[in-house]
Symmetry: C2
Subunit: 275 residues, 2 copies
Amino acid sequence: MDIISETRCFDGVQGVYMHASSVCACDMTFAVYLPPEAKDGPVPCLWYLSGLTCTHENAMTKAGLQAHAAELGLAIVFPDTSPRGDKVADDEAYDLGKGAGFYVDAREAPWAAHFKMESYIVRELRTLVEAEFPVADRHGITGHSMGGHGALTLAMNHPDLFQSLSAFAPISNPTRSEWGRKQLAAYLGTNESLWADHDATALLKTKGWKGDILVDQGASDKFLDLLNPEALASALFETRTPSVIRMQEGYDHSYYFVSSFGADHMAWHAERLFA
Amino acid sequence: MDIISETRCFDGVQGVYMHASSVCACDMTFAVYLPPEAKDGPVPCLWYLSGLTCTHENAMTKAGLQAHAAELGLAIVFPDTSPRGDKVADDEAYDLGKGAGFYVDAREAPWAAHFKMESYIVRELRTLVEAEFPVADRHGITGHSMGGHGALTLAMNHPDLFQSLSAFAPISNPTRSEWGRKQLAAYLGTNESLWADHDATALLKTKGWKGDILVDQGASDKFLDLLNPEALASALFETRTPSVIRMQEGYDHSYYFVSSFGADHMAWHAERLFA
């Protein structure tokens, strides 16, 4: 693992790192924020998954989560959203290929060679973070848009790995959305029975989630018809999943929305990870 | 209007009153809590509508709202849930007739003579409260179960009368529930087109609500299949209605549930009524 940069931030350290990923068969970059408390021993760790077109950098620089992480004593990991590099397949569309990994392990050509974002995050990067950073065995997961989809689906598919869960404006029902159907078909193939395990609305009704869930959604988000939060709201309540779901008046899909409710989400995770 | 009792409570007054209702054609009892601030001038007013089998008394004695009302400076009105008296029609079932007015104006015999709970609350009792008590022209509405249904539907049907709205475990989609279909058929007749204006889920998609809505629901509520909160959750998000909806782990349908989240609801209303 190479250190790209380490910068003092709220009395802790915002670092950016690169490593050779065997799972994605390419170099991968990620960021970790360590709060000041990490100098004294392991701290709980929140995974923040980003949305379409993002790298590890967008939320790191724009979401303002470090202030809250420092106050609460949480580490934050910001993974990339796809494999990278000249050898990695891509598509002209912004929502397929690089920057659009959708947190699944691709099975279809040309994607299967590198696009293994589910295994990358829950297996390879998890192991690396646990080995290289002072994080306790208490992990939460959140994310925005495609990353909210990732947080919800990775948590429900790997419940032993995560103790807290939230999402900002998640892609909520990708098997019924143009943000989802195209990508799941490309990565997993046209057999839709393989898609259900990567759809938060469907997963609530099959595997469910062991804990409670916080979801925020902006009411002025121009992507609402693609995100389909009403399907998630209905599924959360139909399955009686303990949850707080909020339609936030006037907020859009930007990082201003994420930063506005970042404190609430960080407190949500801290309350559960320190329990 | 006769004073049945007035009792000092959190430095304010909990009163119970009776009046001859012309709308319901019977004597009606109701309760009003006035906070200490009401001695100095008009205060905003929260209407609390109760559920099946209740009178004005259940929430007044068991919900513990007066402590918060005193702190925040809100009055609370607790109406009865149906007309009362020997001349008033009833049914053997607990969920039809007395104690089960459903906050509609009945059109069918034998109910139409007295069961006019919508007009009673929004017209007659509203006028009486405004004339007899120091309440400002700022009103919120909430309620529990059938009363949550009442709060949601009366607010959406009379938006000029209410500036804030919340509900505890509301009957959310009565046109699709056994808590609703029987009563709406009895009171309004079998023409289901008349029912939609008394169904919160349907109203969100037609008239909608001008502001935001707080809804709490217990995840261990044994009436969940009758309440159908997932329909309301879906409609709130589908219509992009600003809202906070919470599935509360372990809580049932009792006043212990209402009292546990009473402070949150009172604060919600105070924030909007004092805005």
